[in-house]
Symmetry: C2
Subunit: 537 residues, 2 copies
């Protein structure tokens, strides 16, 4: 941690000022679940895929059978045998945004991999559709039912099976909440860090993170889960348990099966435990936030940052003025920069290294260079971990704050970094053209915001509307996907397909790819019981 | 580059001495192909899988058909129409070690992806077995035929299709030799580095590297190809071209199909081009070599190195005295340390950073710590790039030098790092017990050596024998695989399965895994024409 702000980094007019020693007061991030009260969302019934006649409709007799498989009394709750009221199932049937909602009558919560296996075997034998559910913090409707599928919640699989303090290899069950693991490591083995971090860390579960190949805030430094995850335990669609919990960094004996399950969104199996390599925690940290006049300035600061910080750069995040205003209004963030120095864009830079003095010198050189090139309007450097956390929270609060600002349509797009922000600009233009975005604020769309992981070319585009409606949606889609396809991008960089993007996969994947994916799905799940109507259909 | 050896790192008795300014003279690494003269190896006919009656025996008529598909005169060479003498096909039929040899009568060398597609479509229609071949530098008999399969050489696919100097994304065809790409980058865009490096870089082809998921010398810093490779172009077993040449760092739209092909060893398709993310080349480099008394000392130096060098550590390699003696005798390396300071083990440490002064300080602290803890016998630090290359060559020459020392049985094993060297010791014990390894050198086994990528827990175990024979082999196998299985390791960390390890996969994979792999193979290649008798059988 830098002990003081270097005089050398100040410039006469555009000072890289210190963050006040009183930490910036931002209310701590509420869990997603508590952010979104369970009001009934708009159910896009018109665009829902029809219920498959192949899948069994559950009856009280089925529930009785499930109870024999899972003897613990709270492992099965159902409206079919009156062990639950319809309201009890709403937190499972509806997503946190209130955008997706199914009508399942039963939630099962197995307490072991063997119980998951028993349930899935039973579902396969009885032709029952299953939705695996972790923290239900997804953004594409992947973890809630479409119709009346059985919901299998992983939330009772919460054991840390082992942690090796020599190698950093952690074996843990799927239902553990990401923050619990972070806390476990901080306490038990503070020299290691979990390679994944997300705004939803207080609610999301690690099994769901792996099943959706979550990206998040540490990807630039530690790479994707495809590299960190060493092995998996998976219950296959016939109920068989695949024990692939390897603890090896290198293993070239056959196809890397775990890669099929990472990011498979419950379509070919249910991840019940993961083996993951935790990297060494950097011993020194710095967080800086810059205010910038334009996206071009962001690009130039990004290039300069990579040059000066090299191997200690651990995150480079961007958010625009619209996002920042939402965080100030709905997230409780105080102003960081003086009004005259607030720009159209903000970049958060984090470093992680092993020598505080070296890191400080590298940062100082970066600041000097940024000031001399006039790329930034202003900049602040956190003085302690509390201030670092406060700066991070501004970025982390972007998605939630925009959801509080209205009904937020969320798109998670990947295009070459130099074209990233043009998607926001083109979306604004489009919505102005159709009269939904108006200068006087009277339109059905209140604002269009962009933020994201600039280091990975990953933009989160948010369209904040007054309502979730087919009209607004059809003004955005498929326009947004066409834009992405024109730029050879991905319509889902990290959020997955779920039910939201399943119909649009052809904007990012060729017909040959889709055909191969369908064959893989069919091979693993010939009865089509796993998370039906979503992902690959 | 450190400009001079710091006085501070010297200790009274065990000095970390400078490498002489005259670089250590080690002959440059010859290409593998030129190292191994094509003498006839021992053909383990007794253990060969029988020829499949399902696969077609080629006739001159077939060769004529192939010539209509590939009009370029040198694209088809065959003993069946006398366009080639049997000797012409030996470099394709036999591996570089002279250990594996098939009897194919035809080699095709398509010059484009479309031509590969035509050949494979024809093979599928005619039930012809195909062996895809890159640089033929593998160690497990994966790229040579077992019987009379058609050999499809990728060596004429050598175009660099594009390189983006902003993002570092390279799209290149499979037949390019690794060193050619390194040279291309050094000349065209020296701020980027190819994320893979291997001793065989002068001969191996990048398509083969990806098809075998090669690990190599840069894995510790840049991770595996599973992270660096962004996309692939693959000709599928029915001849269809799958264009998955994505240029995106993040894309969660469906199963990550490319992962199935990475490391698939030609069993489900032929990689014709790759899209790969080249990381930024560090601007500062250092290479040090330490002499150590024991493997325990290696472990302790490894731990200290990680602590002191943190984010700048880019490689940590180990080799034992037996390997080093072979390099001195057969690789032309001069002595680095004084005789009294030569130890039982050697560790090579490389750093890559962005600030020479910072790196130098970190190294100095490491040296001071190593000297005060008496972990090392001696150490040298390269003073310039020539000396760095010389130190690296000692490590890189280990495999070739041991092959020159006799008939080297090579095993590529992955176990937890603390148990890594015990495999070498147990193998010596075993071979002494059966009377093959004798103190007077009269046994059928001359020596047992170990070297490898300590940073990845990956040991290369070499048993140097007087001959390749069933007797020696059965003294080693399956003993060595049992040892690995007892330690929950992998019988192939980076070399793959090929024909050598295909029969032993169950030492590293469960029956459920093998069953899933067989189903995947069957799904992609129902006729079993792709690289038959190997990998997953």
């Amino acid at each position: 941690m830098l002990s003081k702000c270097k005089a050398a980094v100040r410039a006469p007019q555009r000072a890289v000022q210190c963050v006040r020693q009183t930490p910036i007061a931002i209310s701590s991030i509420p869990h997603r679940a508590s952010l979104a009260p369970y009001h009934l969302g708009h159910r896009h019934t018109s665009s829902l895929p029809p219920r498959s006649p192949e899948l069994t409709t559950l009856t009280p007799k089925h529930i009785a059978q499930l109870r024999t498989l899972l003897p613990h009394p709270s492992s099965v709750i159902s409206t079919l045998d009156d062990s639950a009221a319809p309201d009890d199932l709403i937190p499972f049937n509806r997503d946190w945004m209130g955008k997706y909602e199914g009508r399942s009558g039963v939630v099962v919560r197995p307490i072991s991999t063997e119980e998951v296996s028993k349930v899935i075997k039973w579902c396969a034998e009885n032709g029952v559709g299953v939705v695996p559910q972790g923290g239900n913090t997804g953004l594409v409707g992947g973890s809630t039912p479409i119709h009346d599928e059985l919901i299998l919640s992983l939330s009772s699989l919460t054991r840390i099976r082992s942690f090796d303090p020599l190698s950093g290899i952690l074996i843990a069950e799927s239902g553990l909440i990401l923050e619990q693991i972070d806390t476990f490591l901080s306490k038990q083995s503070p020299s290691f860090i979990f390679p994944l971090d997300l705004g939803a860390k207080g609610s999301c579960q690690i099994g769901g993170n792996v099943a959706t190949n979550a990206g998040g805030l540490r990807l630039l430094r530690y790479g994707s889960l495809r590299g960190s995850v060493l092995g998996l335990e998976v219950v296959l669609p016939d109920g068989k348990i695949w024990d692939g919990l390897s603890g090896l960094r290198k293993d070239n004996t056959g196809y890397d099966l775990k890669q099929l399950f990472i990011g498979s969104e419950g379509s070919i199996g249910i991840i019940t435990a993961i083996s993951i390599l935790c990297p060494r925690r950097p011993t020194t940290h710095n967080v800086a936030l810059f205010s910038l006049p334009s996206y071009e300035a962001c690009l130039s600061v990004f290039a300069e940052t990579k040059t000066h910080l090299g191997e200690i750069l651990s995150a480079f995040e961007m958010f625009d003025r619209t996002s920042y205003e939402a965080v100030k209004k709905h997230g409780g963030a105080r102003r960081v920069f003086e009004e005259g120095n607030e720009g159209e864009f903000y970049c958060l830079v984090e470093t992680g290294g092993s020598n505080a003095e070296h890191d400080s010198e590298k940062l100082t050189r970066l600041f000097e260079s940024l000031i001399s090139s006039s790329s930034i309007l202003d900049g602040v450097l956190a003085q302690d971990t509390t201030q670092s956390a406060s700066l991070w929270q501004i970025r982390e609060l972007c998605p939630e704050s925009l959801s509080k600002a209205g009904k937020a349509y969320k798109y998670d797009l990947s295009v070459p970094v130099e074209k990233m922000y043009s998607l926001v600009e083109k979306m604004r233009e489009r919505l102005r053209d159709v009269g939904m975005l108006r200068d006087d604020g009277s339109g059905k769309v209140k604002s269009v915001a962009g933020f994201g992981h600039m280091g990975d070319g990953n933009l989160h585009l948010n369209v904040v509307a007054t309502e979730f409606s087919d009209e607004v949606q059809s003004a955005i889609e498929p326009f947004v996907y066409e834009l992405v396809a024109q730029n050879n991008g991905s319509i889902s960089a990290e959020h997955g397909l779920g039910s939201m993007k399943a119909p649009y996969i052809s904007y990012s994947q060729s017909s040959t790819s889709i055909e191969l994916m369908r064959r893989i799905k069919k091979m693993f799940d010939p009865k089509g019981i796993m998370n039906p109507y979503k992902f690959i259909t």
